[in-house]
């Protein structure tokens, strides 16, 4: 029991510690692919550090929502972390408190408040970004749902730990069309939710074209740091769900000793590194879609996820 | 051996047409080949009537009643059409293109002849595809914008049926193979084993083949290529396309139907009746508003395909007989219609019904031929189509399909009135503009006469051999 709680804390710390690194590696790799040198992979840490040491400016026009939002954006991904397998392949103490759907709700709360906060400021770009994020969200939601349904059809459960066991144990299920289609649909979702390239440009600085970034324009100091850190953690958590639950459920700690869990850390990091290479290839080979084409992109994700569900319900999937 | 010769001769003909020294005589070579094939087919038909079956290579090339009937129709129409082509294509093209046309024509004939000869369903599929391909090249022969458009529609819509039908044949093979465990697949074997095949798979494969080949025989809703192809293709090709090219895929469907009907549990008759009626209905109403006389005859083809399908779906002995005689009568009458349409086109060089007036005064020959053939195709009393339609309707009443018969009869009457009112407009009245005298090629004139003879004869008297051939074919169709 104690050790289980301890590992849960380790998982949370892992996500907190490595989320900025993941963001740094991604941006560095991307610059390298584009024949540029790029910032150091530690740059996100420095950014966060710097922001924490700056004064926070709060408009007197804003309400409590604006003040609460950074904390929610920071905490919610951590709640998700205790529900999913980040380092261990056996359920930890809070694992049965909520399923993948609950994880979706936690992230949804953060997104909801971020949108409200953006409207709260009265800045013209904030509401625009908020409405765009909502649009992407609306389109992504059904895909999430269908993915969860499919997963529950295949493994009779939506608890991430149990789902993960399903793919590890059964190679036939791993290669089944339902699984392959599910992976592709979920990858497209991650790109959309994480604000990656075919949907949104994370390194863009042009306010009119922003989707995700423009919501955070009014935050400063500690608030900005928490928002940034929370966003990076959200992306890492999504990646962990994708990798540890759906794609490559290997490399997780199987034993119950501290050493086992610590050995899992570099293995997971390696997996994430490989995934970031894939992500970079996807991102550099695609162009950012025009806003109204995003519906096509997520529509395609929806189609694929429903196809996955269909092939899993009917015999042979 | 005769069956193989029947297939070899058109291939040889195609080669000879390509052969440079013979290019000038491509038309004569083709005529020679077609008539030789026709003679051989007559021999095959006689032997089928005597013995019930002719075997070329067992398991590969076989002919029974239904295939002998189709062979007879294909070879007859092809033989007459190339006589017509001799006069029709005379001034249009240079020798190179003309020899290309005839080579293609021979290949087209080869593929159509191969379909009824082949004993196995998979190769039948290949042959039907070849028919489509060479047909597409012939339709687009004129190379004008509209003929290419027609060829494109023809190619896309009918080739689209190919994979669908192939899927069906794979499923058929699956059903057959799991029932027999490895016997080679022939139509006869299929019919014998029909009872022990999985009825769900059998129905599924029939559905796919029906959709795939239904598109090729111009059944609604895949009929849209048919009027375009028929209005744009060179007229001799139209005669072949409409008279027998549509019949050939239908032959495969009917063959397959025989297999399905032999299975006690797989019921498909009602599908056929419904789709057949839909085809007849759509065609009848399109006939009312048609403005091009070649398209008019094309829609009438859709109508007749629907009638044949409805009759086959009724699945009684009398209706089967009606269906096969409808196949025969439609082929000979419709090819005549297109020869006449070609003659009118040569004389007036317009295809619009609206701009043809007083045809009887312009050319008494073309006018009376048009009157004759349109009465025949619409199903007026002394003509064979009247007889076969009547026998289908009465078979339907006997079989208890009263509603079907009522609808079918109404639609046939609508089509009848529509065709004759258009023709009436073309024949009577005064020519609006003076038309230059046109010397009709003798071969065209001959073809019309020659094609009219069987139409006239079969209406009043069915010779004993033809009757027994029809009965054999009807027997094959029923799966009994």
């Amino acid at each position: 029991m104690i050790e289980s709680i301890g590992y849960n804390v380790v998982q949370v710390l892992f996500v907190m510690a490595f989320a900025p690194l993941y963001a740094g590696v991604l941006s560095r790799l991307k610059e390298m692919v584009q024949s540029k040198r790029g910032p150091s992979i530690l740059q996100p840490y420095r950014d966060i550090w710097k922001l924490f040491h700056k004064d926070e400016v709060l408009s007197d026009q804003t309400t409590w929502i604006f003040r609460v939002t950074p904390y929610l954006a920071f905490v919610m991904p951590l709640f998700v972390t205790i529900l999913i397998p980040v380092l261990t392949d056996y359920p930890l103490v809070f694992a049965f408190m909520g399923d993948m759907l609950a994880g979706g709700f936690f992230l949804g709360v953060a997104g909801f408040f971020a949108a409200l906060a953006a409207v709260d400021t009265g800045n013209p770009y904030g509401p625009m970004g908020a409405s765009r994020t909502r649009m992407v969200g609306f389109l992504a939601e059904p895909v999430f749902m269908i993915v969860f349904f499919t997963v529950s059809f295949v493994s009779q459960s939506t608890i991430p730990y149990i789902v993960q066991q399903k793919w590890v144990v059964n190679a036939g299920a791993f290669f089944s069309p339902a699984h392959v289609l599910l992976l592709i649909a979920f990858l497209m979702l991650i790109l959309a939710e994480g604000g990656r390239i075919p949907v949104d440009n994370p390194s863009g600085h042009f306010e009119l074209a922003m989707i995700d970034e423009s919501k955070g324009l009014e935050f400063s100091g500690r608030g900005a740091a928490l928002m940034k850190w929370g966003g990076e953690m959200k992306f890492l958590v999504l990646t962990c769900i994708f990798l540890n639950v759906l794609v490559a459920p290997w490399g997780l700690a199987h034993g119950h000793t501290v050493a086992d869990v610590l050995v899992a850390v570099p293995q997971i990091l390696f997996k994430i590194f490989v995934f970031s290479l894939v992500l970079i290839v996807v991102e550099t080979s695609l162009a950012k879609l025009r806003l109204f084409r995003i519906s096509e992109f997520l529509g395609a994700a929806f189609i694929i996820s429903v196809a996955a569900m269909v092939t899993s319900i009917f015999p042979g999937g | 051996m005769t069956l193989i010769a029947i297939l070899a001769i058109p291939l040889l003909g195609a080669l000879l047409c390509w052969f440079r020294p013979l290019r000038k005589h491509a038309s004569s070579v083709t005529m020679l080949c077609s008539w030789a094939v026709f003679a051989l087919v007559l021999d095959v038909a006689a032997r089928v009537i005597a013995r019930g079956k002719v075997v070329g290579i067992p398991g590969w090339f076989e002919a029974d009643g239904l295939s002998a009937l189709v062979l007879l129709l294909v070879s007859f129409v092809c033989a007459l059409a190339c006589v017509f082509a001799r006069g029709y294509m005379r001034h249009e093209h240079d020798d190179g293109r003309l020899s290309w046309f005839y080579a293609n024509y021979n290949l087209f004939a080869f593929a159509m002849l191969a379909v009824p000869c082949l004993a196995g369903p998979n190769l039948t599929w290949v042959a039907v595809e070849l028919v489509t391909l060479f047909g597409a090249l012939l339709v687009g022969f004129d190379n004008t914008a509209s003929s290419l458009e027609a060829a494109w529609k023809f190619a896309v819509l009918t080739i689209m049926g190919a994979p669908i039908a192939l899927f069906g044949f794979f499923a058929l093979f699956w059903a057959y193979h799991s029932a027999t465990g490895g016997a080679s697949e022939t139509w006869d074997g299929l019919r014998l084993m029909a009872g022990s095949m999985n009825p769900a798979v059998l129905r599924f494969s029939f559905l796919l083949v029906f959709v795939g080949f239904g598109a090729k025989s111009g059944l609604v809703p895949m009929h849209t290529w048919l009027p375009d192809a028929h209005s744009q293709a060179p007229t001799p090709v139209c005669a072949v396309l409409s008279g027998v090219k549509t019949t050939v895929p239908l032959y495969v469907i009917l063959r397959f139907l025989g297999v399905v009907l032999a299975s006690p549990t797989a019921r498909v008759g009602n599908w056929m009746i419904v789709l057949g009626l839909v085809s007849v209905g759509i065609a009848a109403f399109l006939l009312v508003q048609v403005r091009d006389y070649k398209r008019m005859f094309a829609f009438s083809t859709v109508e007749h395909m629907g009638i044949i399908l409805t009759a086959a779906g009724m699945a009684s002995q009398a209706a089967d007989f009606g269906a096969v005689s409808q196949i025969l009568n439609h082929a000979i009458t419709k090819s005549l219609c297109f020869y006449v349409a070609g003659v009118i086109l040569l004389i007036l060089s317009t295809r619009e019904i609206g701009s043809v007036r007083g045809l009887l005064r312009i050319s008494p020959f073309a006018g009376s031929a048009l009157l004759f053939c349109s009465l025949a195709i619409a199903g007026a009393p002394p003509f064979p189509i009247f007889l076969s339609e009547l026998s289908i309707l009465s078979a339907g009443v006997e079989g208890g399909h009263k509603v079907v018969v009522a609808i079918l009869a109404t639609l046939i009457v609508i089509a009848f009135v529509a065709i004759l009112s258009h023709v009436n407009r073309m024949l009577l009245g005064k020519p609006e503009t003076p038309v230059l005298a046109y010397a009709l090629p003798a071969s065209c004139r001959f073809t019309v006469w020659a094609a009219a003879v069987p139409v006239l004869v079969l209406g009043v008297y069915i010779p004993a051999p033809v009757h027994s051939l029809l009965q054999l074919a009807a027997h094959q169709l029923g799966g009994r």
């Binding site: 059964n170 190679a171 036939g172 299920a173 290669f175 089944s176 069309p177 339902a178 392959v180 289609l181 096509e296 529509g299 395609a300 189609i303 694929i304 429903v306 196809a307 269909v310 092939t311 009917f314 015999p315 042979g316 999937g317 | 998979n122 190769l123 599929w125 290949v126 595809e129 070849l130 391909l133 597409a136 090249l137 687009g140 190379n143 004008t144 914008a145 290419l148 458009e149 060829a151 494109w152 529609k153 190619a155 896309v156 080739i159 689209m160 190919a162 994979p163 669908i164 192939l166 899927f167 794979f170 499923a171 699956w174 490895g182 999985n198 769900a200 798979v201 599924f204 508003q289 403005r291």
Partner: protein, 225 residues
């Protein structure tokens, strides 16, 4: 659930083939459609080889080789030779129905395919059939749909060939013992289809100066003015 590794990899091929069928509906560029078709054909051939290995069937192996030869090498090459390169750089901006709707329809078709074959699959008790048959039928129907939704000549041709791919994917599962002569004849026929339609396309291009099949709308039943 398939147990052996070749069968497991075959299921992987099946999933990817279905995806490539969707992709062919979704892609706008002519070039892209062609690429996805080639990829799909490679997957089909892979599936042939895998099944040939697990069922020890020379026929299927030969069919895989034929597929590579015809659909991966010959057909793209012939189309390239036959048609000028500007064909491939074309983009279809206006399709008959827009792409999301088109994708939704393809999805419905895939569901319909599963629904249609499920009684047969249940009776067969064969994992390969229960995978290949529905996916093959889905590809067939999706190909037919894309044929109707497309306006360019080449994507229409590719649609037909994609339908053929679906048919073969089902065929290698349900009819692996099909005589090799029939397979050969069918393969030759498929290649001929491509050549003839390609020829027609070239003629259309030369005569009309466009390959937009949608511009072919001269012939229709006029309504009386």
């Amino acid at each position: 659930m398939p147990s052996s590794i070749p069968d497991a990899l075959n299921t992987l091929c099946g999933g990817l083939i279905l995806i490539s069928a969707f992709a062919m509906v979704a892609v706008r560029q002519v070039q892209g459609v062609t690429r996805f078709f080639v990829a799909q054909s490679v997957l089909l051939a892979t599936s042939c080889f895998l099944l040939a290995y697990s069922q020890h069937s020379m026929d299927l192996f030969a069919l895989g080789l034929i597929t590579i030869g015809a659909k991966v090498v010959t057909i793209p090459w012939v189309l390239r030779r036959l048609l000028p390169s500007e064909f491939y750089e074309r983009r279809e901006i206006n399709q008959v129905i827009n792409i999301p709707t088109s994708l939704l329809l393809s999805l419905l078709l895939a569901i319909f395919a599963e629904f249609l074959v499920s009684p047969m699959v249940n009776a067969a008790h064969n994992p390969v059939i229960s995978l290949n048959l529905p996916i093959g039928l889905a590809c067939l129907l999706i190909g037919a749909h894309s044929l109707m939704a497309r306006r360019e000549a080449i994507p229409q041709l590719i649609g037909i060939l994609a339908m053929e791919n679906g048919t073969f994917f089902a065929g290698i599962a349900i009819a692996p013992q099909l005589p090799i002569i029939a397979e050969l004849a069918i393969a030759v026929d498929v290649a001929l289809i491509a050549v003839v339609v390609g020829l027609l396309t070239r003629n259309i291009q030369e005569t009309l100066g466009t390959t937009e099949a949608a511009s072919l709308d001269e012939l229709k039943e006029e309504v009386a003015e």
